[in-house]
Subunit: 359 residues, 2 copies
Amino acid sequence: MQTLTVELEDRSYPINIGAGLLHQQSLLQAAVPARDILLVSNTTVAPLYAGAVREAFADRHVVEVILPDGEQHKSLGMAGRVFDVLVANRFGRDALVLALGGGVVGDLAGFVAACYQRGVDFVQVPTTLLAQVDSSVGGKTAVNHPGGKNLIGAFHQPRGVLADTDVLATLPERELQAGMAEIIKYGLICDRGFFAWLEKHIDAVRGREAQLLSQAIYRSCQIKAQIVGRDERERGDRALLNLGHTFGHAIEAATGYVEWLHGEAVGVGLLIAARLSQRLGGLTEQDVERVRQLLERAGLRTDAPRIGAARAASFMSADKKVQAGRVRLVLLRAIGEAYVTGDYPDAALQDTLQAQFGA
Amino acid sequence: MQTLTVELEDRSYPINIGAGLLHQQSLLQAAVPARDILLVSNTTVAPLYAGAVREAFADRHVVEVILPDGEQHKSLGMAGRVFDVLVANRFGRDALVLALGGGVVGDLAGFVAACYQRGVDFVQVPTTLLAQVDSSVGGKTAVNHPGGKNLIGAFHQPRGVLADTDVLATLPERELQAGMAEIIKYGLICDRGFFAWLEKHIDAVRGREAQLLSQAIYRSCQIKAQIVGRDERERGDRALLNLGHTFGHAIEAATGYVEWLHGEAVGVGLLIAARLSQRLGGLTEQDVERVRQLLERAGLRTDAPRIGAARAASFMSADKKVQAGRVRLVLLRAIGEAYVTGDYPDAALQDTLQAQFGA
């Protein structure tokens, strides 16, 4: 087991990464000090892994909420149903919400934990690659609104993250690929060495070679923990983590959150960001081709859906990165060097959107 | 105009109290720096005071949401409708929510501001006595759940509070009385001198004598600001502010949030807390009688509804003050000296509930 810490003063917490963590009962018990536990999972994950959690907490009061699987269920209405369960069981401020699942489960359960009685404790047990390297770390919680992704949410740090890499063995290939998009993102943002390492090992990581997959997860969490430690509330640097996401969110929203997995949309979003960066003179054509190839080798889609440039722009302006009426974008100066800006020629963005999404 | 500050480091903010503030356009404009403003009010208050706000912000982009009046509308569903308006108008992170109304408007608008895009700015313009002395200050935001009051919420400090005492002229008598309960609460919690001052001036305050009413508001806000500055997240002292509230919330929930105003329920709750404190040896019979008389002179009800002790206990245990399965109560050692405890004989609580609410 490897342990990282997200440094946030009195809200610092550990990320534990390793094989078989879900079966280390004493580890789980120590990470979850509460008597009343709301276990939130989904119909896919619960049959596989909820049993291990139940066993570890046989002497506690565990109530389960099993959500339907899928991004379209990450809604305020579904959060309302989880609040109902908490209230019906008279859970108090000393209860704890344990999220066992991917990003949808973690984001929604975290949002409920943030708001129930103005905040109860929360532990993340991510079961997808995407959740292990990204969404379970950093305290961003949210539900979607039909008008845009993650528009209703809260910053609420978990008291711990337990990433059991063994559970990735049962992860569908498509979900694994989606997680790779976020891993590639970390290389692009701030670590060209990690990007090159991924170019070398992508086949092995995709082939789930335990040692290399663990290394990729660890380095991803390390980068995320550092950035979150510097800027918890996204007043500055943390926005770098949104590389590819403004474009990706537009794809997800335009396709109703059902056709594209979040990571798949982010993958295409990374490539669009790279192409716009090239147009603005940041990346070379060769750099963009390296990005495209790495995404392709990770099994990810590299063609944007033909949702139309105007529709994409409309969803982008409903996203959370708008400041003074202008969408702030994360772009690349080089592979391994991202920056945030609201200062770009509109024509370049327009041209890129039209080339990618169609007129 | 008098100004107090809630001291919370980088989230410190001013409370401005005075006559005619709503017509000081430069004051409003300085307090609300945003271009996009969501004005949240209700059907009673908006016709009276929204015009002044609109005038002050004629050069901004102001969108209005007018809620139906009443505690029963402080729901997650209604919050959802306010989110819809924000999204439909493509308001970004730099938008500001301005709450113009009483506690229901302020709590709900504040909750929406806390969660929209994980937090946007928020200004309180309280128009009831209760909101001016209590709910607009301190950053507690929430909506109700059918199972209990304020069960879904967030801590989200406003960037300013503007309490225009002139608006109290149009406040219905019953609402004014409800606000008096919270003012009396402050005396009971920590200021026996203020309690005695109220005994002396209650008729004038109730008669809305501007000078004395302003003094009562100022002292109340001062006490609240001090307590919140010491303990924003209610890890300790802030719980003192809940004196009377656990009983009061049970009354409100048991009567469906329509029959009793919050302040009315709190008023009776104060008296129940005083009676239980007497049973436990804290207060004398004479102290309890002083509390009862002051409430009565403020025009408040002093008899609890016959909702039954078991039902009251059930709602109390669904309230937010439960720790390790035990309801924590705020009780009185003396007038002006409250304390929080989970350590009390159950029989004393039971007897008090039965005497007050019926078997």
